[in-house]
Structure formats: C-alpha cells, structure tokens
Amino acid sequence: MGASLKEIKRQSVAVDKTRQITRAMNMVAASKLKAAQVKMENFRPYAGKLMEVFSSLSGRVVSTTNPLLAVRDSGRIKVIMMTSDRGLCGGFNTNVIKAVEKFARAKKAEGKEVSLIAVGKKGRDSFRKKETISGQYIEELSRFDISLATRIAEEAISPFVAGEYDELYLCYNEFRSVASQKPVMVRLLPAASLGTGEEEPEAAADYVYEPSEEELLAHIVPMYLRVLIYKGLLETSAGEHGARMVSMDNATSNCEEMIQSLTQKFNSARQAAITAELMDIVGGTEALSAKG
C-alpha cells in the first residue's frame, strides 16, 4: 500500500510539472500571437492598395509580352508550402501537408510533375523523401520581414521566366480566427486573370502612367507576388501561434483533470491504508480483551 501511495504522489507531481510547461507555452504563444496579429493588421493597407492597383492595371493591359503572365502547359508545377518550424500546435501543419499531398496526387494523376518550395521545417521533413524540394526556408519564421518574401519570390520567379515550370501555387493556413485556421491553395503564376471581374472605377481611366501601363504592370507583378507570399507568411505565423495556444490550453486542462483524478486516487488509497491500520489495531485489542 505504501509504495502505491508514493507512486501516485510521484505521478501527480510529474503531471503538475507538465501542466506548468504547457501553461507557460500557452502564455508565450498568446503573446507571440498578439505580435503577429499586429503585424498582419499593419500590412493590410499596403496589401489592399497594391491589390487595387494591380487588378486595375491587369484589367487594362492586355499584355502578351510580360513573362510573368505567360500561360504555358508543359506540365510542370511548383508549390510553395508554408508550415511552422515547431510542432505542438495541433493539426496545424498536418492540414497543410495533407492539402499539398492531395493536390500533388491529383496533378500527378493528370500526368504533371510537382516540385515544392518548403517554408518551415515540419513540411520539409514530411516531404523530404516523397517529393522534389527545390528550395527550403527553415527557422526563418520566428523573425522575418518582407525581405523573406522577396527571397522566396525571387527563387520562384527566375525558373518561371526561364520556362522551367508553368504554374506556381501557394499553400498555407488561412488565419480565420485564433481557434480556426484552414489550408488554402492560391495560384500565383501565371499572374493573369486575377482581376476578380470587379468593375473598374471610371476615374482610374484618367491617370497618366509613367512609364507605360505595360511597363508599370511589369514592375507591379513582382510586388504583387511578394505581397501574396508575405501575406501567407504572416498568416502562417499568426496561425501557428493561435493553434499552439489552443492546443496548449487543452493540454493544460487535461493535466488539471488528471491531477484531480490522481489526487482523488491518492486520498482514497491513503484512506484505505489508514482503515487497514486501524483494523489491525482494533483487531489486536479485541483479541487481547477477549483473552483477559
């Protein structure tokens, strides 16, 4: 009995230590999430403005010479996949990985080749043996700015211009709320036909364009790509912290439940031990008095 009491106590202490860790991780994730959300918020005006100009320009210019708008079909596809570097964040990474797997399978069934650019260690590790990974960005998400998006975009653009592949997709977890992230797949290249069919404001027609509309578009398409990639990075980082916060919160309350049940077990075991001891003593005295 005594050994079991000790054992229960030991377990309960261990669970309590785990609880302390998960709670700390939850708090860290919460503060990082806040910073990531501020970053997302600050990026919105820039992204919004650029999208506006891009769609108005791409609607006006019927360009065939811009290499980034070229539609080809030689059957090679590239996917930028964004995951986190660290785990312990629920199904956050698994969801993106599954989405990419499904996408790759479908494209391969059409006889196309798929290669990946991996952002984040988790995604890279899971595809290392299965797919061609043409580029990787590991341990970059803890601290990044638009220059990371620039680097990724550059790596994707030059082989596209060289005709090494025809379509570029981006897969990441869209940040819907702290508790909800959903993987999305967006086509980045060729960048055409992104004009969502929205009506163009008449006033835009009066602009003087410098340099020409087409050259301006050529200048803005890479910026537009960087904006989409940066947006993906921001949402991935916010989503990672959100997902971790939620899963650590769950872990903490699971620990608390376990501690409670262990405490109960400990108390009843202790009670049982006391009762057994008492029975011994009572039994002993009874025996003595019966003799006397």
Binding site: N42, Y46, Y207, V208, L216, I220
Partner: protein, 135 residues
C-alpha cells in the same frame, strides 16, 4: 491651407507617414519629379532612391525602396517596400557595404548569377550615402 498636398507613405510594416505637405519629390523610374497640389492624376513606379518633402518650409529626406506612387489632385499615396529616415543612416556602415560590393565586382563576370545582386547592393549603398549627405 488650400495649397497643401496630402502625403501618405505606406510600407508593409505600417503607415509610415500621413500628413499635409507643401511639396514632395519622388524618384520615379523615369527620373526625379516633384509633386505639388493640383498635379495631374498619375501612376508612376518608384525606384530605390530619395524621397523628400517640404513642410513649413523645411525639407525632410528619406531613403525609400521599390514601389509606386499614385497621385491625384489633392493626395499622393506612396507605396514602398521600405523607408529609412536620412538621419538614421549609418554612414560608416553604408561605406563599408559599398566598398565590399565594389571589391566583389572587381573581376566578376557579367554572366555570374550573383552579378545583378551585388550590383543592386552597390546601388543601394551609393544611394544611401547620397541621401545621408543631405542631412
């Protein structure tokens, strides 16, 4: 203040500047140009270079990254990827960057994949120095 132009500078990190100014000078891809209130509506690309504006007869200098400017009658919106105040540029650092880029360019083949990159960082360092000198 009918003669004033609303200037907004937006970067990916924040709304860097929003105020009325008397004039703003931008480095367009076709060269430097000044904007006063009542400018014709214009959409121009911006290259890495100097941006300055005049407010209360005082000039302020900045170094901005790539982007574009949208100008209407009363308002200039500048979207750039980065912005640095001229005063915050560390001259020593820029000089060192320039020297190292120059050293790398010596004997470098024009077809080298890094050539463009090094050239760009040299341009950046030179522009930095130029803007810093205005302080």
């Amino acid at each position: 203040m009918a003669d004033d132009l609303m200037l907004e500078i937006v970067t990916p990190d924040r709304l860097a500047f929003s105020d009325v100014v008397e004039e703003v000078t931008l480095s367009g891809s076709e060269g430097e140009f000044g904007v006063l209130v009542g400018h014709v509506p214009l959409l121009s690309s911006i290259k890495i270079g100097e941006l300055n504006y005049t407010k209360d007869n005082k000039k302020a200098y900045y170094l901005v990254g790539e982007g574009y400017a949208e100008i209407t009658n009363l308002k200039a919106t500048v979207l750039v990827e980065s912005i640095e105040e001229a005063g915050s540029i560390i001259v020593e650092e820029a000089k060192r960057a320039k020297e190292s880029a120059e050293a790398r360019l010596v004997g470098m083949d024009k077809d080298d994949p890094d050539y463009e990159k090094v050239k760009k960082s040299l341009d950046m360092a030179e522009t930095r120095l130029k803007v810093a000198e205005k302080m």
